[in-house]
């Protein structure tokens, strides 16, 4: 798939925002004061800002944004619609929650709001992931690893931001560090599992082949043979099309390796090492969070560019 920068940014930013939001809400529920009120009151708008920035970016991706308001219409069947509806619900409820926090109210209402906000955040994250995981033509995405990765990566990046907030405005950075490290390791493992699942030379039963795509098993082959290899002779156009732009994006192998390296190093390696040293400085924490986001942008970019849609078979790929 062609990685659209707007979508890459959208999922990483809103993922981080949603993860952060869920963690803040959970922290608020926690009997241990993981975050000071000052930290909470600054963390929540930051989360909303990240989510809003992400959503705005996703609207940029639309070819006809004037119809974006229609996106709520198909909650029943469409994960994108569900994401839109739930994200729409999230904002007023989070504002309400923010009001409760700002007014320093305590009790059931605030607790309930924090639970709802947390659940909504998880739902939106899940919906975003399911937009991709539900797409049958993309083998790499059709796996539980996808929503698992979205949720964990969102919480991992959110946790790193939370640490910065905690260090900057008060909280328990050490607890956060342990939590973040746990999330980070889990996210890394899930990411590795995802990559393994989707590898080009793997696939076995789940990878589709060009032969299947054009019906070689159903008889589309020379007479008298039962097995034959298929190859693309001509795609029917010598220049580009919407389909080649969107789906037959090819990245040179060395660039893909480099990006994966960047994703691993920046998105996991450096932050985890830094966490081990113990988060102390606000600036460092913020920088690491930003670095991690950059690494996750690379990961997300690869998420798209690694994906091999079945339409690529029709353009000559041997397998998905």
């Amino acid at each position: 798939m062609k990685p659209a920068l707007s979508i890459v940014f959208f999922t990483v930013a809103s993922g981080a925002g949603l993860g952060l939001l869920a963690l803040l809400a959970l922290a608020d529920l926690c009997p241990v004061p993981l975050l000071s009120p000052a930290a909470l009151i600054r963390g929540l708008p930051l989360a909303l800002l990240l989510i809003a920035a992400g959503l705005a970016s996703s609207v940029l991706h639309l070819a006809k944004p004037s119809n974006a308001w229609r996106a709520f219409a198909r909650f029943r069947t469409s994960w994108l619609s569900r994401e839109a509806v739930l994200a729409a619900l999230l904002f007023p409820l989070t504002f309400a929650y923010l009001a409760a926090v700002a007014l320093d109210t305590a009790g059931m209402a605030r607790a309930l709001l924090s639970i709802v906000v947390c659940l909504l955040s998880w739902s939106v994250l899940f919906c975003t992931a399911m937009i991709y995981a539900s797409l049958k033509p993309i083998r790499q995405w059709r796996t539980g690893w996808t929503p698992a990765a979205y949720l964990l990566l969102g919480h991992w990046s959110g946790a790193l931001i939370a640490i910065a907030v905690a260090v900057g405005y008060g909280g328990e950075p050490v607890s956060w560090a342990w939590l973040a490290a746990g999330l980070g390791v889990a996210a890394l493992l899930v990411k590795l599992g995802y990559w393994h699942h989707g590898a080009a030379d793997r696939g076995g039963k789940s990878a589709l082949t060009l032969e299947q795509a054009i019906g070689v098993p159903q008889g589309v082959r020379p007479p008298g043979v039962s097995v034959a290899q298929a190859r693309l002779f001509d795609a029917g156009h010598t220049q580009r099309t919407f389909l080649t732009d969107e789906f037959v994006f090819r990245i040179a192998r060395q660039h893909a390796q480099a990006l994966r390296g960047a994703a691993l190093a920046l998105g996991f390696g450096i932050p985890l090492i830094w966490l081990a040293t113990g988060p102390r400085h606000w600036a460092a924490a913020a920088s690491v969070a930003v670095l991690a986001i950059v690494g996750l942008l690379a990961e997300r970019w690869l998420f798209f560019s690694d994906a091999r849609h079945t339409v690529r078979l029709y353009h000559g790929d041997a397998r998905t």
């Binding site: 007479p223 190859r231 002779f233 029917g236 156009h237 010598t238 220049q239």
Partner: protein
């Protein structure tokens, strides 16, 4: 849920019927117009050619009509500008016509041969040929000389009709179909419709072609043949049939010259000619009566195998004896030819048995009464349902003529001609063999000022006396057609015109008039040199070709070399007649012709070329266009078509003749004839009654009817199919110094005649590689057009160029691997003449020793309405640069010979041999490149970045 669907508002639309113009099919189209623009073009379901279907070219007609490449006004080379720079000024039609008329008048009044008028891809040769005859110049031809003349001449001299234009396979009854060397772009829709019929009936379809695309893709069996060796395959099939005796003896005896006696006096005049009686009838040996007999008589029993002594003591053998001796020789055994042609011996043998089985064990019998030329009635028609079709893969070789004759020989031996399931003739064929039209060759007539030729510029020579040469044997035509070098060049030799004109050899001309021919690009061999020759200056600074006029509807590479450009209309803006006098739309079961008529008004200052031709003819007072009192006969082309009669009652259009429009095929002019055609969806068909549909070369009812309606000459006689071609033997005798008449003086010409004018088909190595080491140029290099494009006309089409905008050189994957080549590698492709650089792609479906590419995708930057950065200009390439129009000079040659078939002069495109080598790193990009064309006046070069084409008003 139902949401509203908006339908077309039919009340705002008009429907017209006309004829497509994208290729040589001439399919019937239904054109829907809305808001003065073309809304939809579809096939006309009632039309005999396409019966409702329409190919990609026709379906993209909208974008042809609205192409940015359309010429908009007459142009003249800016005074002082260099020819070829494309530096023009716009002029008015009156001025343009005055300039041209004055020049033509001067030429005609002094030396008419100084006008060379050559038409490329057109469909009105009957008019342009007649115009040239009236002008008085022999220097006219269409493009057949570099396209398909081998098929035409081989057919017309053998069976009285031919592959390609003048016949069609009988799709309804064929049970086995062999397709020889037919590329994607030929015969388009009828072939496609026919293949579907075959498939539905379970008929076997075998394709003989080095490339497996297009039609060959759906073949039941694909024979990847080495280019130029089809003749070997055909003769090997014949070898097997002869060995097995799987021959239609009756057919041979009744319909061919197989039993005719051939004089055997080697080294003496008259050798190899038919033994004839005192009335010139060919002799046969009646083996029952044990006498020599006139071979035309009915009820005799001619021997097929016989060697006799003639009354004058000379020996003679039957044609069939000679055939048996030659083709039963081991030289033509499958085992001997397999390595050469690339088809396994077992396969050849099997195919021969398959076609024999189908021909003899699965014969078709139709209960149709018909009468033969001896007046005998038969109550059924027997068909040996093996059909064939063949085209450029056979034709474009220097051995194409003999190869095509080999295919016809195969058909004759099987009795597979003109019967149900065979390749059958299309009216106005079959004709007698050879046709009685000879090319004008009288120098006093040719050089006479202000005098039409007595004969047409083109014709069918039958003996050395018919050549168009002077008493010293020098060619009289600028293209040297009908000379000792190319005696049967029945379609002229367009590919030699520019070279000869630029070299003033055989003589200089004054004006070269080109219609719809892209000679400065893909329709030439040796493109680079041709472009140089068009602009070459001679001794006194004048151009070697002083004046060039280009007529076309669209801008092209050739337009840039014009001194005068006359812009033509598109096919939706004009009247046209697709005439029985030319290349008609007839089917085997029905004669037919058709028209075009204006559906749109031109939005620019253009005029239909036919109207201009009529105008020029009138101004120059051609006799056929001028009354006794000196006034013009015809107001315009419309008028000409209605009122011109070639013979009494015979005009360009055959339908609705007679004052009342009630006569068909022959009748007085009908003033309302155009209206009748338009009323009848722009076409006319005359279905043949059943009894006139088969065996027309011997069908009394057909031949008598045809003669009455000028579709056959007088008197109607049976057309005996010529397995052995006596005209060829006459030329051979001239080469051997044994002819009682003109003979060539040049040893080279003598040797060529003696070798190649074999009256029986044979196979020889294409001239290009004779004597040359094949190792230096191991690959055959050929081209074809993709199915959705034709000639060089479709890169200007917005839709079609999205399918193909650049080309690659295709090579067999296994062969590529051996050379260390992979997809998208840049390679040097070199011939003995030149080299080019391009990108390679590999594929399975190409013969291992062949490379190929799509022709005419590569274009000069800035032509065809394209922006200079178009892929056609930056990545598309021509193979043409590699082909020389001249053969390499051998020590014994006095001059360089044309790279053509020695019999017909057909340009031998596909003889090209190349080497392919990977480029060094960094050596990428097209080579050679051509400087961009200048924009024409009136073209600001602005092109839209997005086109949102619709006829709906927003």
């Amino acid at each position: 849920m139902t949401r509203q669907i908006a339908f077309d508002d039919r009340s705002r639309q008009q429907t017209h019927f006309s004829t497509c113009y994208m290729c040589a099919c001439r399919c019937g189209i239904k054109v829907t117009v809305e808001n003065d623009r073309v809304r939809f073009i579809q096939g006309n379901p009632n039309h005999p050619v396409n019966k409702g279907v329409l190919c990609a070219k026709g379906s993209a007609g909208i974008m042809k009509q609205y192409s940015a490449a359309k010429l908009t006004k007459p142009l003249m080379r800016r005074p002082g500008a260099r020819r070829g720079a494309g530096d023009f000024v716009e002029i008015e039609w009156d001025e343009a016509l005055d300039i041209l008329t004055a020049r033509l008048r001067d030429i005609r009044a002094s030396d008419p041969t100084k006008l060379a008028f050559f038409t490329g891809r057109d469909q009105m040769q009957a008019l342009s040929g007649m115009w040239a005859q009236q002008f008085g110049t022999p220097n006219w031809a269409a493009h057949g000389g570099f396209c398909s003349v081998n098929m035409a001449v081989a057919g017309l001299y053998t069976i009285g009709y031919s592959f390609w234009e003048f016949g069609a396979p009988d799709w309804d009854h064929a049970k086995y179909f062999l397709l020889w060397g037919v590329a994607e772009d030929h015969s388009s829709n009828p072939l496609k419709i026919g293949l579907d019929k075959l498939k539905k009936r379970g008929a076997k379809f075998v394709s003989i072609n080095p490339v497996r695309t297009g039609y060959s893709a759906i073949a039941d069996e694909w024979l990847p043949i080495r280019p130029g060796t089809d003749g070997l395959l055909a003769l090997a099939l014949i070898h097997v049939l002869l060995k097995r005796g799987a021959i239609d003896w009756e057919f041979l005896i009744r319909y061919t010259n197989a039993p005719w006696l051939v004089v055997q006096t080697p080294g003496m005049p008259g050798d190899g000619l038919f033994a004839r009686d005192e009335k010139d009838n060919p002799l046969v040996w009646d083996h029952v009566a044990q006498v020599l007999s006139n071979g035309h008589l009915p009820d005799i029993a001619p021997a097929l195998l016989a060697s006799v002594e003639l009354p004058d003591g000379r020996r003679a053998k039957t044609v069939f004896s000679l055939i048996s001796e030659r083709y039963l020789d081991e030289r033509y055994a499958p085992e001997s030819v397999a390595a050469e042609c690339g088809v396994a011996a077992a396969t050849i043998t099997r195919i021969a048995h398959e076609i024999a089985h189908v021909a003899f064990n699965e014969a078709v019998e139709l209960p149709i009464r018909w009468t033969d030329m001896h007046g005998r009635t038969h109550d059924k028609v027997i068909g040996r349902p093996v059909a064939m079709h063949a085209m450029r893969g056979i034709s474009a070789h220097s051995n194409g003529f003999q190869t095509c004759r080999a295919l016809h020989l195969l058909q004759m031996l099987l009795g597979a001609l003109e019967g149900p399931g065979n390749f059958r003739a299309r009216a106005p064929y079959p004709r007698r063999i050879p046709m009685r039209t000879l090319p004008e060759n009288d120098p006093t007539v040719i050089f006479a000022p202000d005098t039409p030729l007595k004969r047409m510029p083109n014709g069918n020579p039958t003996r050395p006396e018919d050549l168009v040469i002077d008493k010293d044997g020098k060619p009289l035509r600028i293209d040297r057609a009908y000379s000792w070098e190319s005696p049967l060049a029945a379609h002229g030799m367009m590919h030699m015109v520019i070279t000869n004109a630029a070299n003033h050899d055989p003589y200089p001309i004054d004006t070269l008039l080109l219609f719809m021919a892209n000679m400065a690009w893909n329709s030439s061999m040796n493109t680079g040199d041709v472009r140089e020759m068009l602009a070459r200056t001679a001794a006194h600074g004048e151009y070697a070709i002083p004046f060039i006029v280009v007529v076309d509807a669209f801008q092209s590479e050739t337009v840039n070399f014009a001194d005068l450009v006359l812009p033509d209309t598109t096919y939706l803006e004009r009247y046209d007649a697709i005439s029985l006098l030319d290349r008609p739309i007839s089917e085997p079961d029905a004669a037919g012709d058709s028209i075009r008529h204006p559906i749109l008004k031109p939005d620019r200052d253009v005029r239909p070329w036919q109207d201009v031709l009529v105008e020029l003819a009138s101004r120059l007072k051609f006799p056929a266009f001028t009354r006794e009192d000196g006034s013009r006969k015809f107001a315009d082309y419309r008028d000409f078509i209605v009122n011109y009669e070639k013979l009494p009652g015979i005009g360009f259009l055959a339908g609705w003749r007679g004052k009342d429009g009630e006569s068909h095929l022959r009748g007085a002019p009908n003033p309302k004839q155009w209206e009748k055609y338009i009323e009848h969806q722009s076409f006319f068909t005359y279905p043949w009654p059943e009894n006139m549909r088969y065996y027309r070369f011997a069908n009394k009812d057909y031949l008598e009817f045809a003669e009455k309606h000028a579709l056959f000459g007088t008197p109607p006689v049976q057309v005996i199919l010529q397995m052995y071609s006596e005209p060829l033997q006459k030329f051979r005798l001239a080469g051997q110094g044994l002819y009682d008449g003109p003979q060539p003086s040049s040893p080279t010409d003598r040797e060529r005649l003696a070798t190649y004018f074999d009256p029986l088909p044979f196979w020889y190595e294409p001239l290009e590689t004779q004597g040359k080491a094949r190792e230096a140029y191991p690959f055959h290099a050929i081209t074809q057009r993709p199915m959705m494009m034709y000639h060089s006309w479709d890169s200007q089409n917005v839709w079609l160029r999205q399918i193909v905008a650049q080309n690659y050189l295709y090579m067999n994957r296994g062969s590529a691997r051996k050379l260390g080549l992979a997809d998208y590698d840049w390679v040097w492709v070199a011939s003995r003449h030149a080299r080019i650089r391009c990108q390679l792609k590999t594929m399975e479906g190409v013969e291992a020793n062949t490379v190929w590419t799509w022709n005419a995708i590569g274009r000069q930057p800035g032509v065809a309405g394209l922006e200079p950065g178009a892929p056609e200009a930056t990545a598309g390439f021509l193979l043409n640069h590699l082909i020389s129009e001249l053969l390499p000079k051998h020590a014994s040659d006095e001059r360089r010979l044309t790279n053509s078939d020695p019999v017909t002069g057909q340009a031998a495109w596909f003889d090209l041999r190349v080497s392919v080598r990977k480029c060094a790193p960094g050596e990428t990009g097209l080579w050679p490149t051509v400087a961009p064309a200048k924009r024409l006046p009136g073209d600001d070069g602005v092109r839209p970045t997005i086109l949102r084409w619709t006829t709906k008003r927003s």
